[in-house]
Protein backbone atom coordinates (compact mmCIF):
# COMPACT_ATOMS: atom_id res chain seq x y z
CA UNK A 1 0.00 0.00 0.00
CA UNK A 2 1.35 3.42 -0.96
CA UNK A 3 0.17 6.80 0.23
CA UNK A 4 0.58 9.98 -1.82
CA UNK A 5 1.62 12.59 0.74
CA UNK A 6 0.78 16.15 -0.41
CA UNK A 7 4.33 17.28 0.53
CA UNK A 8 6.50 14.25 -0.10
CA UNK A 9 4.79 12.47 -2.98
CA UNK A 10 4.03 8.77 -3.16
CA UNK A 11 5.60 6.90 -0.24
CA UNK A 12 5.47 3.42 1.23
CA UNK A 13 2.85 2.99 3.96
CA UNK A 14 5.55 1.90 6.42
CA UNK A 15 6.65 5.55 6.67
CA UNK A 16 3.31 6.41 8.25
CA UNK A 17 1.65 5.81 11.60
CA UNK A 18 -2.04 4.99 11.59
CA UNK A 19 -4.30 6.66 14.16
CA UNK A 20 -7.87 5.87 13.12
CA UNK A 21 -11.25 7.35 12.30
CA UNK A 22 -10.90 10.94 11.04
CA UNK A 23 -14.53 11.80 11.75
CA UNK A 24 -14.12 11.70 15.55
CA UNK A 25 -14.37 15.11 17.21
CA UNK A 26 -13.68 15.95 20.82
CA UNK A 27 -17.09 16.64 22.39
CA UNK A 28 -17.89 19.81 24.29
CA UNK A 29 -17.13 18.93 27.93
CA UNK A 30 -19.76 21.42 29.14
CA UNK A 31 -22.59 19.91 27.10
CA UNK A 32 -25.35 18.28 29.16
CA UNK A 33 -24.69 14.78 27.77
CA UNK A 34 -20.91 15.23 27.72
CA UNK A 35 -20.18 11.88 29.43
CA UNK A 36 -22.17 9.86 26.90
CA UNK A 37 -20.64 11.80 24.02
CA UNK A 38 -17.12 11.14 25.29
CA UNK A 39 -17.88 7.40 25.43
CA UNK A 40 -18.97 7.66 21.78
CA UNK A 41 -15.91 9.64 20.74
CA UNK A 42 -13.36 7.49 22.57
CA UNK A 43 -14.76 3.98 22.11
CA UNK A 44 -17.53 3.65 19.52
CA UNK A 45 -16.64 3.31 15.84
CA UNK A 46 -18.58 2.90 12.59
CA UNK A 47 -15.86 0.54 11.33
CA UNK A 48 -17.21 0.52 7.76
CA UNK A 49 -16.39 -2.07 5.11
CA UNK A 50 -15.69 0.29 2.24
CA UNK A 51 -14.80 3.99 2.04
CA UNK A 52 -13.24 5.24 5.26
CA UNK A 53 -11.65 8.59 6.14
CA UNK A 54 -8.79 8.04 8.57
CA UNK A 55 -5.88 9.90 10.13
CA UNK A 56 -2.31 8.95 9.18
CA UNK A 57 0.85 10.64 10.47
CA UNK A 58 3.85 10.88 8.16
CA UNK A 59 6.37 10.20 10.93
CA UNK A 60 9.28 9.22 8.65
CA UNK A 61 8.65 12.13 6.29
CA UNK A 62 7.25 15.63 6.65
CA UNK A 63 5.50 14.83 9.96
CA UNK A 64 2.17 16.06 8.69
CA UNK A 65 -1.12 14.69 9.91
CA UNK A 66 -3.04 13.49 6.87
CA UNK A 67 -6.62 12.55 6.19
CA UNK A 68 -6.52 9.47 3.97
CA UNK A 69 -9.70 8.23 2.28
CA UNK A 70 -9.29 4.55 1.62
CA UNK A 71 -11.34 1.44 0.87
CA UNK A 72 -11.02 -1.00 3.77
CA UNK A 73 -12.01 -3.92 1.54
CA UNK A 74 -9.36 -3.37 -1.16
CA UNK A 75 -6.82 -0.99 0.47
CA UNK A 76 -7.26 1.37 -2.51
CA UNK A 77 -6.38 4.94 -1.53
CA UNK A 78 -8.77 7.51 -3.06
CA UNK A 79 -7.55 10.78 -1.61
CA UNK A 80 -4.91 12.19 0.73
CA UNK A 81 -5.21 15.68 2.22
CA UNK A 82 -3.55 17.59 5.02
CA UNK A 83 -5.75 16.91 8.03
CA UNK A 84 -6.11 20.56 8.93
CA UNK A 85 -7.34 21.36 5.43
CA UNK A 86 -9.68 18.39 5.30
CA UNK A 87 -11.12 19.59 8.58
CA UNK A 88 -12.19 22.95 7.22
Amino acid sequence: MRVRCPFCGERDSSEFVFLGDASVRRPDPDAPEAAARFVEAVYIRDNPAGRYAELWYHGAGCRSWLTVTRDTRTHEVFAVELAREADR
Binding site: V17, F18, G20, V39, I44, A49, E54, T72, H75
Partner: protein, 416 residues
Protein backbone atom coordinates in the same frame (compact mmCIF):
# COMPACT_ATOMS: atom_id res chain seq x y z
CA UNK B 1 -20.34 -43.31 13.98
CA UNK B 2 -18.16 -43.36 17.07
CA UNK B 3 -14.44 -43.14 16.31
CA UNK B 4 -12.25 -45.66 18.11
CA UNK B 5 -9.41 -48.07 17.48
CA UNK B 6 -12.03 -50.70 16.74
CA UNK B 7 -13.79 -48.55 14.12
CA UNK B 8 -10.42 -47.79 12.53
CA UNK B 9 -9.46 -51.47 12.32
CA UNK B 10 -12.89 -52.39 10.98
CA UNK B 11 -12.67 -49.72 8.29
CA UNK B 12 -9.11 -50.68 7.41
CA UNK B 13 -10.19 -54.27 6.82
CA UNK B 14 -13.13 -53.06 4.71
CA UNK B 15 -10.87 -50.90 2.52
CA UNK B 16 -12.04 -47.61 4.15
CA UNK B 17 -15.26 -47.66 2.08
CA UNK B 18 -17.64 -47.40 5.01
CA UNK B 19 -16.76 -43.98 6.47
CA UNK B 20 -19.73 -41.65 6.59
CA UNK B 21 -19.65 -37.82 6.51
CA UNK B 22 -18.61 -36.46 9.89
CA UNK B 23 -21.56 -34.07 10.09
CA UNK B 24 -24.83 -33.30 8.37
CA UNK B 25 -24.93 -30.41 5.85
CA UNK B 26 -28.46 -29.22 6.65
CA UNK B 27 -31.00 -27.11 4.76
CA UNK B 28 -32.65 -24.30 6.74
CA UNK B 29 -35.98 -24.93 8.46
CA UNK B 30 -38.54 -22.15 8.93
CA UNK B 31 -37.75 -21.65 12.60
CA UNK B 32 -35.48 -22.67 15.45
CA UNK B 33 -35.20 -22.09 19.18
CA UNK B 34 -31.76 -20.50 18.71
CA UNK B 35 -29.85 -19.31 15.66
CA UNK B 36 -26.09 -18.88 15.96
CA UNK B 37 -24.65 -16.71 13.20
CA UNK B 38 -21.13 -17.73 12.27
CA UNK B 39 -19.84 -21.25 11.59
CA UNK B 40 -16.38 -20.78 13.02
CA UNK B 41 -15.02 -22.43 16.13
CA UNK B 42 -16.90 -20.12 18.48
CA UNK B 43 -20.27 -20.47 16.74
CA UNK B 44 -20.05 -24.24 16.48
CA UNK B 45 -18.86 -24.57 20.07
CA UNK B 46 -21.80 -22.40 21.17
CA UNK B 47 -24.25 -24.67 19.33
CA UNK B 48 -22.60 -27.78 20.78
CA UNK B 49 -22.76 -26.55 24.37
CA UNK B 50 -26.33 -25.28 23.91
CA UNK B 51 -27.28 -28.84 22.97
CA UNK B 52 -25.06 -30.62 25.48
CA UNK B 53 -25.20 -28.41 28.59
CA UNK B 54 -28.62 -26.83 28.20
CA UNK B 55 -30.59 -29.43 26.20
CA UNK B 56 -31.47 -26.82 23.54
CA UNK B 57 -31.16 -28.91 20.39
CA UNK B 58 -33.37 -27.08 17.96
CA UNK B 59 -30.43 -24.89 16.94
CA UNK B 60 -29.08 -23.67 13.59
CA UNK B 61 -25.56 -22.45 12.85
CA UNK B 62 -25.58 -20.14 9.82
CA UNK B 63 -22.33 -19.76 7.90
CA UNK B 64 -22.04 -17.50 4.87
CA UNK B 65 -19.20 -19.55 3.34
CA UNK B 66 -18.04 -22.98 4.55
CA UNK B 67 -17.43 -23.77 8.21
CA UNK B 68 -14.02 -22.74 9.50
CA UNK B 69 -13.41 -20.48 6.50
CA UNK B 70 -12.77 -17.37 8.60
CA UNK B 71 -10.38 -16.85 11.49
CA UNK B 72 -10.79 -20.44 12.76
CA UNK B 73 -8.73 -21.49 9.76
CA UNK B 74 -6.35 -18.52 9.79
CA UNK B 75 -4.67 -18.52 13.18
CA UNK B 76 -1.40 -19.82 14.61
CA UNK B 77 -3.17 -22.53 16.71
CA UNK B 78 -1.75 -21.51 20.10
CA UNK B 79 -3.60 -22.42 23.29
CA UNK B 80 -2.61 -20.93 26.66
CA UNK B 81 -4.03 -19.33 29.78
CA UNK B 82 -1.25 -16.95 30.82
CA UNK B 83 -3.24 -13.77 31.40
CA UNK B 84 -2.69 -11.17 34.09
CA UNK B 85 -6.02 -9.57 34.89
CA UNK B 86 -8.74 -10.96 37.11
CA UNK B 87 -11.40 -10.45 34.42
CA UNK B 88 -9.46 -12.62 31.96
CA UNK B 89 -7.50 -15.33 33.74
CA UNK B 90 -10.37 -17.50 35.09
CA UNK B 91 -12.03 -17.43 31.67
CA UNK B 92 -8.93 -18.53 29.78
CA UNK B 93 -8.14 -21.16 32.41
CA UNK B 94 -11.66 -22.51 31.98
CA UNK B 95 -10.87 -22.73 28.28
CA UNK B 96 -7.56 -24.48 28.99
CA UNK B 97 -9.33 -27.08 31.12
CA UNK B 98 -11.88 -27.65 28.36
CA UNK B 99 -9.03 -28.12 25.87
CA UNK B 100 -7.54 -30.76 28.16
CA UNK B 101 -10.68 -32.90 27.94
CA UNK B 102 -11.91 -31.81 24.54
CA UNK B 103 -10.91 -34.78 22.43
CA UNK B 104 -12.57 -37.31 24.75
CA UNK B 105 -15.64 -35.10 25.00
CA UNK B 106 -15.99 -34.63 21.24
CA UNK B 107 -14.66 -38.07 20.30
CA UNK B 108 -12.46 -36.30 17.78
CA UNK B 109 -8.72 -35.91 17.46
CA UNK B 110 -8.11 -32.16 17.72
CA UNK B 111 -4.35 -32.80 18.11
CA UNK B 112 -4.23 -30.87 21.38
CA UNK B 113 -0.56 -30.85 22.28
CA UNK B 114 0.51 -29.36 25.62
CA UNK B 115 4.06 -28.72 24.56
CA UNK B 116 4.48 -25.53 26.61
CA UNK B 117 4.34 -21.80 25.94
CA UNK B 118 7.51 -19.86 26.77
CA UNK B 119 7.42 -16.04 26.87
CA UNK B 120 10.98 -14.70 26.76
CA UNK B 121 12.07 -11.58 28.61
CA UNK B 122 15.03 -9.39 27.77
CA UNK B 123 15.44 -6.88 30.60
CA UNK B 124 15.03 -6.59 34.37
CA UNK B 125 11.79 -4.67 33.94
CA UNK B 126 10.41 -7.41 31.73
CA UNK B 127 11.48 -10.02 34.29
CA UNK B 128 9.47 -8.16 36.94
CA UNK B 129 6.46 -8.03 34.62
CA UNK B 130 6.81 -11.76 33.89
CA UNK B 131 7.06 -12.56 37.62
CA UNK B 132 3.97 -10.49 38.31
CA UNK B 133 2.04 -12.24 35.56
CA UNK B 134 3.22 -15.65 36.75
CA UNK B 135 2.12 -14.85 40.31
CA UNK B 136 -1.27 -13.65 39.08
CA UNK B 137 -1.67 -16.91 37.19
CA UNK B 138 -0.72 -19.02 40.22
CA UNK B 139 -3.19 -17.10 42.39
CA UNK B 140 -5.83 -18.40 39.98
CA UNK B 141 -4.49 -21.94 40.31
CA UNK B 142 -2.75 -21.91 36.92
CA UNK B 143 0.74 -23.30 36.35
CA UNK B 144 3.53 -20.81 35.71
CA UNK B 145 7.29 -21.11 36.06
CA UNK B 146 9.81 -18.29 35.94
CA UNK B 147 12.93 -19.57 34.19
CA UNK B 148 16.39 -18.04 34.18
CA UNK B 149 18.57 -17.86 31.07
CA UNK B 150 20.23 -21.21 31.81
CA UNK B 151 16.93 -23.06 32.07
CA UNK B 152 15.79 -21.48 28.82
CA UNK B 153 19.07 -22.47 27.19
CA UNK B 154 18.46 -26.12 28.11
CA UNK B 155 15.04 -25.96 26.43
CA UNK B 156 15.98 -23.98 23.36
CA UNK B 157 19.76 -23.76 22.88
CA UNK B 158 19.37 -22.28 19.39
CA UNK B 159 18.06 -18.90 20.59
CA UNK B 160 20.31 -15.85 20.31
CA UNK B 161 21.05 -15.41 24.04
CA UNK B 162 23.89 -12.92 23.61
CA UNK B 163 22.04 -10.59 21.23
CA UNK B 164 23.61 -7.17 21.89
CA UNK B 165 20.31 -5.34 21.94
CA UNK B 166 17.89 -7.96 23.27
CA UNK B 167 19.82 -10.51 25.35
CA UNK B 168 17.62 -13.29 26.73
CA UNK B 169 17.40 -13.06 30.52
CA UNK B 170 14.87 -15.86 30.92
CA UNK B 171 11.27 -16.70 30.29
CA UNK B 172 7.86 -17.33 31.80
CA UNK B 173 6.79 -20.87 31.02
CA UNK B 174 3.30 -22.32 31.04
CA UNK B 175 3.84 -26.06 30.53
CA UNK B 176 0.13 -26.76 30.04
CA UNK B 177 -0.05 -24.37 27.09
CA UNK B 178 0.66 -25.54 23.57
CA UNK B 179 -1.09 -25.94 20.25
CA UNK B 180 -4.15 -27.62 18.73
CA UNK B 181 -5.09 -28.43 15.16
CA UNK B 182 -7.37 -25.50 14.22
CA UNK B 183 -9.39 -27.16 11.44
CA UNK B 184 -9.92 -30.29 13.53
CA UNK B 185 -11.36 -28.13 16.30
CA UNK B 186 -13.95 -26.78 13.86
CA UNK B 187 -14.75 -30.22 12.44
CA UNK B 188 -14.86 -31.82 15.89
CA UNK B 189 -17.35 -29.28 17.25
CA UNK B 190 -19.39 -29.49 14.02
CA UNK B 191 -19.56 -33.27 14.21
CA UNK B 192 -20.46 -33.34 17.91
CA UNK B 193 -23.08 -30.59 17.51
CA UNK B 194 -24.57 -32.23 14.44
CA UNK B 195 -24.90 -35.53 16.31
CA UNK B 196 -26.93 -33.76 19.00
CA UNK B 197 -29.34 -32.44 16.36
CA UNK B 198 -27.88 -29.03 15.50
CA UNK B 199 -28.41 -27.91 11.88
CA UNK B 200 -25.20 -26.64 10.29
CA UNK B 201 -26.18 -24.53 7.30
CA UNK B 202 -23.42 -23.40 4.96
CA UNK B 203 -23.63 -20.87 2.14
CA UNK B 204 -26.23 -18.98 4.13
CA UNK B 205 -25.38 -15.30 4.59
CA UNK B 206 -27.37 -13.18 7.01
CA UNK B 207 -28.58 -10.06 5.17
CA UNK B 208 -30.91 -8.60 7.80
CA UNK B 209 -32.68 -9.11 11.10
CA UNK B 210 -36.41 -9.56 11.56
CA UNK B 211 -37.66 -7.29 14.36
CA UNK B 212 -41.01 -7.31 16.07
CA UNK B 213 -41.92 -4.87 18.84
CA UNK B 214 -38.28 -4.01 19.52
CA UNK B 215 -37.27 -7.69 19.65
CA UNK B 216 -35.16 -9.68 17.24
CA UNK B 217 -37.24 -12.69 16.18
CA UNK B 218 -35.22 -14.05 13.30
CA UNK B 219 -32.94 -13.31 10.39
CA UNK B 220 -33.19 -12.71 6.66
CA UNK B 221 -30.63 -14.75 4.78
CA UNK B 222 -29.51 -15.51 1.27
CA UNK B 223 -31.53 -18.74 1.69
CA UNK B 224 -34.74 -17.08 2.96
CA UNK B 225 -36.21 -15.97 6.27
CA UNK B 226 -35.46 -18.03 9.35
CA UNK B 227 -37.23 -17.33 12.66
CA UNK B 228 -35.83 -17.96 16.11
CA UNK B 229 -36.63 -17.03 19.69
CA UNK B 230 -33.00 -16.05 20.22
CA UNK B 231 -30.21 -15.07 17.84
CA UNK B 232 -26.51 -15.12 18.77
CA UNK B 233 -23.75 -13.45 16.76
CA UNK B 234 -20.30 -15.10 16.70
CA UNK B 235 -18.81 -13.48 13.61
CA UNK B 236 -15.58 -11.91 14.86
CA UNK B 237 -14.02 -9.85 12.07
CA UNK B 238 -17.42 -8.95 10.60
CA UNK B 239 -19.21 -7.99 13.81
CA UNK B 240 -19.55 -4.28 12.98
CA UNK B 241 -20.88 -5.09 9.52
CA UNK B 242 -23.57 -7.37 10.91
CA UNK B 243 -24.41 -5.14 13.87
CA UNK B 244 -24.96 -2.24 11.49
CA UNK B 245 -28.03 -4.12 10.16
CA UNK B 246 -29.70 -3.42 13.51
CA UNK B 247 -28.17 0.06 13.91
CA UNK B 248 -25.88 -1.14 16.65
CA UNK B 249 -22.52 0.65 16.82
CA UNK B 250 -19.77 -1.14 18.72
CA UNK B 251 -16.39 -0.45 20.37
CA UNK B 252 -14.67 -2.51 17.67
CA UNK B 253 -12.39 -1.92 14.68
CA UNK B 254 -11.58 -4.58 12.08
CA UNK B 255 -7.86 -5.07 11.44
CA UNK B 256 -5.84 -7.50 9.37
CA UNK B 257 -3.38 -9.88 11.06
CA UNK B 258 -1.01 -11.95 8.96
CA UNK B 259 0.36 -15.38 9.80
CA UNK B 260 3.11 -17.40 8.15
CA UNK B 261 4.27 -20.93 7.49
CA UNK B 262 7.75 -21.97 6.42
CA UNK B 263 8.85 -25.05 4.52
CA UNK B 264 9.04 -28.17 6.70
CA UNK B 265 12.27 -28.77 8.61
CA UNK B 266 13.38 -31.41 11.12
CA UNK B 267 12.11 -31.06 14.71
CA UNK B 268 13.62 -27.87 16.15
CA UNK B 269 11.26 -25.86 18.32
CA UNK B 270 10.03 -27.70 21.42
CA UNK B 271 6.89 -25.67 22.13
CA UNK B 272 5.60 -22.19 21.52
CA UNK B 273 8.21 -19.45 21.95
CA UNK B 274 7.47 -15.74 22.02
CA UNK B 275 9.91 -12.87 21.62
CA UNK B 276 9.48 -10.31 24.40
CA UNK B 277 11.25 -7.40 22.72
CA UNK B 278 8.87 -7.36 19.80
CA UNK B 279 5.64 -9.15 19.16
CA UNK B 280 6.53 -12.51 17.63
CA UNK B 281 5.36 -16.04 18.35
CA UNK B 282 6.49 -19.27 16.76
CA UNK B 283 5.84 -22.98 17.01
CA UNK B 284 6.52 -25.98 14.80
CA UNK B 285 3.70 -28.03 13.35
CA UNK B 286 3.77 -31.82 13.45
CA UNK B 287 4.45 -31.69 9.72
CA UNK B 288 7.64 -29.74 10.41
CA UNK B 289 6.67 -26.26 9.22
CA UNK B 290 7.42 -23.28 11.39
CA UNK B 291 4.15 -21.48 12.12
CA UNK B 292 4.58 -17.88 13.21
CA UNK B 293 3.15 -14.41 13.37
CA UNK B 294 3.58 -10.94 14.81
CA UNK B 295 1.72 -7.66 15.01
CA UNK B 296 -1.28 -6.39 13.10
CA UNK B 297 -0.62 -4.46 9.91
CA UNK B 298 -2.10 -1.57 11.88
CA UNK B 299 -4.82 -0.06 9.68
CA UNK B 300 -8.52 -0.91 9.41
CA UNK B 301 -9.09 -3.66 6.89
CA UNK B 302 -11.65 -6.21 5.75
CA UNK B 303 -9.39 -7.50 2.98
CA UNK B 304 -8.12 -10.79 4.50
CA UNK B 305 -4.69 -9.94 3.13
CA UNK B 306 -1.94 -7.70 4.41
CA UNK B 307 1.00 -5.77 3.04
CA UNK B 308 4.72 -6.39 2.77
CA UNK B 309 6.03 -4.11 5.58
CA UNK B 310 4.38 -6.40 8.14
CA UNK B 311 5.87 -9.47 6.43
CA UNK B 312 9.33 -7.94 6.60
CA UNK B 313 8.89 -6.87 10.22
CA UNK B 314 7.76 -10.33 11.38
CA UNK B 315 10.60 -12.07 9.54
CA UNK B 316 13.13 -9.63 11.07
CA UNK B 317 11.84 -10.49 14.53
CA UNK B 318 12.15 -14.19 13.79
CA UNK B 319 15.75 -13.85 12.68
CA UNK B 320 16.57 -11.62 15.67
CA UNK B 321 15.45 -14.29 18.13
CA UNK B 322 16.74 -17.34 16.25
CA UNK B 323 19.27 -16.45 13.55
CA UNK B 324 19.44 -20.07 12.38
CA UNK B 325 16.09 -19.78 10.58
CA UNK B 326 17.50 -17.04 8.34
CA UNK B 327 17.70 -19.32 5.31
CA UNK B 328 14.46 -21.19 5.85
CA UNK B 329 12.07 -20.34 3.05
CA UNK B 330 8.65 -18.87 3.69
CA UNK B 331 5.98 -21.08 2.18
CA UNK B 332 2.73 -19.22 2.70
CA UNK B 333 1.30 -16.18 4.41
CA UNK B 334 -2.31 -15.23 4.85
CA UNK B 335 -4.43 -12.60 6.56
CA UNK B 336 -7.42 -12.79 8.84
CA UNK B 337 -9.74 -10.01 9.97
CA UNK B 338 -9.63 -9.40 13.71
CA UNK B 339 -12.36 -7.88 15.81
CA UNK B 340 -10.09 -5.45 17.66
CA UNK B 341 -11.97 -4.20 20.71
CA UNK B 342 -11.11 -0.92 22.37
CA UNK B 343 -9.53 -2.53 25.45
CA UNK B 344 -8.14 -5.69 23.86
CA UNK B 345 -10.64 -8.00 25.58
CA UNK B 346 -13.73 -9.75 24.22
CA UNK B 347 -17.44 -9.12 24.65
CA UNK B 348 -19.92 -11.88 25.57
CA UNK B 349 -23.14 -10.11 26.46
CA UNK B 350 -26.72 -9.32 25.62
CA UNK B 351 -27.30 -6.42 23.26
CA UNK B 352 -29.72 -3.53 23.82
CA UNK B 353 -32.14 -5.48 21.57
CA UNK B 354 -34.07 -8.31 23.22
CA UNK B 355 -33.39 -11.66 21.61
CA UNK B 356 -30.01 -10.65 20.17
CA UNK B 357 -26.79 -11.81 21.85
CA UNK B 358 -23.23 -10.76 21.09
CA UNK B 359 -19.97 -12.71 21.09
CA UNK B 360 -17.27 -10.45 19.64
CA UNK B 361 -14.07 -8.48 20.09
CA UNK B 362 -11.64 -11.42 20.29
CA UNK B 363 -8.74 -9.34 18.97
CA UNK B 364 -6.16 -11.93 18.08
CA UNK B 365 -6.73 -14.23 21.03
CA UNK B 366 -9.82 -15.97 19.75
CA UNK B 367 -8.53 -19.43 18.94
CA UNK B 368 -7.44 -20.43 22.45
CA UNK B 369 -10.77 -19.17 23.76
CA UNK B 370 -12.88 -21.33 21.43
CA UNK B 371 -14.24 -23.90 23.94
CA UNK B 372 -14.86 -21.44 26.79
CA UNK B 373 -16.33 -18.85 24.43
CA UNK B 374 -18.86 -21.42 23.24
CA UNK B 375 -19.46 -22.62 26.79
CA UNK B 376 -20.12 -19.13 28.17
CA UNK B 377 -22.07 -17.86 25.17
CA UNK B 378 -24.34 -20.91 25.32
CA UNK B 379 -24.84 -20.24 29.04
CA UNK B 380 -25.75 -16.61 28.34
CA UNK B 381 -28.20 -17.48 25.55
CA UNK B 382 -29.83 -20.34 27.46
CA UNK B 383 -30.17 -18.64 30.85
CA UNK B 384 -30.09 -14.94 30.03
CA UNK B 385 -27.36 -14.36 32.56
CA UNK B 386 -23.58 -14.32 32.13
CA UNK B 387 -21.47 -17.33 33.03
CA UNK B 388 -19.40 -16.82 36.16
CA UNK B 389 -16.03 -16.69 34.34
CA UNK B 390 -17.30 -14.34 31.59
CA UNK B 391 -18.97 -11.81 33.88
CA UNK B 392 -16.44 -9.09 33.05
CA UNK B 393 -17.00 -9.27 29.28
CA UNK B 394 -19.85 -6.77 29.31
CA UNK B 395 -20.71 -4.53 26.40
CA UNK B 396 -21.31 -1.54 28.69
CA UNK B 397 -17.88 -1.69 30.36
CA UNK B 398 -16.60 1.01 28.02
CA UNK B 399 -19.19 3.42 29.42
CA UNK B 400 -18.84 2.34 33.06
CA UNK B 401 -15.03 2.33 33.06
CA UNK B 402 -14.60 -1.38 33.91
CA UNK B 403 -12.12 -1.95 31.07
CA UNK B 404 -9.99 -5.08 30.86
CA UNK B 405 -6.88 -3.64 29.26
CA UNK B 406 -4.34 -6.46 29.53
CA UNK B 407 -1.62 -4.45 27.75
CA UNK B 408 -2.46 -1.04 29.19
CA UNK B 409 -2.61 0.56 25.75
CA UNK B 410 -5.79 2.59 26.14
CA UNK B 411 -8.43 2.91 23.45
CA UNK B 412 -6.06 2.15 20.55
CA UNK B 413 -7.39 -1.03 18.94
CA UNK B 414 -4.46 -1.40 16.54
CA UNK B 415 -2.00 -1.56 19.47
CA UNK B 416 -3.64 -4.32 21.52
Amino acid sequence: MRYSLLSLVRQALAGHRGWTPAWRDAAPKASYDVIVIGGGGHGLATAYYLAKNHAIRNVAVLEKSYIGSGNAGRNTTIIRSNYLLAGNEPFYEHSMKLWEGLEQDLNYNAMVSQRGVLNLFHSDAQRDAAARRGNAMRLCGVDAELLGAEAVRRMAPFLDFENARFPIHGGLLQRRGGTARHDAVVWGFARAASELGVDIIQGCEVTGFIRQAGRVVGVETSRGEIRAAKVGMAVAGSTSRLARLVDLRLPIESHVLQAFVSEAIKPLIPGVITFGAGHFYISQSDKGSLVFGGDLDGYNSYAQRGNLPAVEHVCEEGVAIMPLIGRVRLLRSWGGIMDMSMDGSPIIDRTPLDGLYLNAGWCYGGFKATPASGWCFAHLIARDEPHEVARAYRLDRFATGHLIDEKGQGAMPNLH
